[in-house]
Symmetry: C2
Subunit: 234 residues, 2 copies
């Protein structure tokens, strides 16, 4: 079965969320006299991500957009740091930092190469507006925005991968999930999609990301340009 | 309230569905020895469009993608013409003609101008895959695909306009519906959106489209480039 569409994880696979959030948190909080290890701040915020989504995946909480979960999680982190006095406006600004994260260096060129041969869409837990803003910020050209919001559930639920393929008019086996995370690819494979692993060894700090897939995959690449070469994109 | 996003009707407003369908029907059916007034064939197919959607809007039928309605309607038209012998493969090919309709001449340049200042998305009754294919065929760059499929209902139901604005992270009043059809704009205005009318006097054949809005609108333009000028896009 020919691959017709590529769907992408975004946080970690296309953007360096950790460095971006660390930088933005420093920019907005240090003028208030607040200081900490900003990489650790980003990690603490991200650590709340899976537990927050799990409430929705398990049915404890109805579907809501990622902005809402990010905001709840930010409030938790600020409380843990004893920074409850951070004002509402600063919290809102910080929460929107997830809308303009910086991409890994080859992503724009890699997506442009891949788009010559495949339909491209994000299959992220980020909602449509967040994906639109990230694409504008980093100059990506998606064919459509798929992922959690159209499925009304969060990865790694199978419905998110399957609804994304279906929205693009593709069967799961005509669709390849591209991600830097083995658990995401394992779930995508279980949902019937092809899989491509992208090494992002520095996602969680230097040398602390995944550089080798921990699950069988159809393709394994050092970055998006390497994947484009392996797929024969001209 | 500032306008942040423009959402577009597609069939008639951005693409010349009638000429495209007439040409494609002739291409696929005349080799079978079938001949008719191909513009009238396109009109007959399109005439089934509103009644088919009305079954979904009224709750008589669950939501399905436009491909499915187009196919039912094609079967009806072929039967009316006494052309029941047209084979399954030809019917499937004909049905996909809606995925590669030709744009009005200024549309690609107009959308590119408008995209410099606004988030752009279709708000069509066409589903996501159909919109993806039309965009590829005509080289449009949407920020996201909104419309009937994400709302799970068909225009002119208010939810379609409102869900499209919400998906883009905009309030209805921050979103402007762009269409060549007064009824579409009237419904969008009732749903809280701003409205822009585009004249397409030849949509239904020479001089048989709307050249002037029959409802109050915020902007009225001769084409998308004129709209871009009125909106100050540089």
């Amino acid at each position: 079965m020919t691959i017709r569409a590529l769907v992408f994880d975004v946080f970690g696979t296309l953007v360096d969320w950790r460095s971006s959030i660390a930088q933005d948190a420093k920019t907005h909080l240090s003028p208030l006299g607040l200081n900490t290890d900003w990489g650790a701040f980003a990690d603490a915020w991200r650590a709340q991500y899976q537990p927050a989504m799990e409430k929705i995946r398990s049915g404890q909480r109805g579907f809501c957009k990622l902005d809402e979960l990010h905001r709840d999680n930010l409030d938790t982190v600020l409380k843990e740091l004893g920074w409850q006095h951070v004002d509402e406006s600063t919290r809102q600004t910080l929460n929107l930092c997830w809308h303009h994260l910086e991409q890994w260096s080859e992503v724009q060129a890699g997506l442009a190469q891949l788009r010559k041969s495949f339909i491209l869409a994000p299959c992220s837990n980020g909602h449509i507006a967040l994906m639109v803003h990230l694409a504008r910020h980093n100059q990506w050209h998606w064919d459509a925005i798929t992922g959690a919001e159209i499925a009304k559930d969060y990865k790694p639920q199978a419905v998110v991968y399957q609804a994304s393929a279906a929205a693009l008019g593709c069967l799961p086996e005509e669709t390849m999930m591209v991600a830097a995370h083995s658990d995401d690819l394992l779930a995508a494979a279980h949902a019937g999609l092809k899989t491509a692993f992208i090494a992002r060894p520095d996602e969680h700090g230097p040398g602390l990301g995944e550089s080798v897939a921990r699950t069988p995959v159809d393709y394994s690449a050092s970055d998006l340009l390497d994947l484009a070469r392996q797929l024969g994109c001209k």
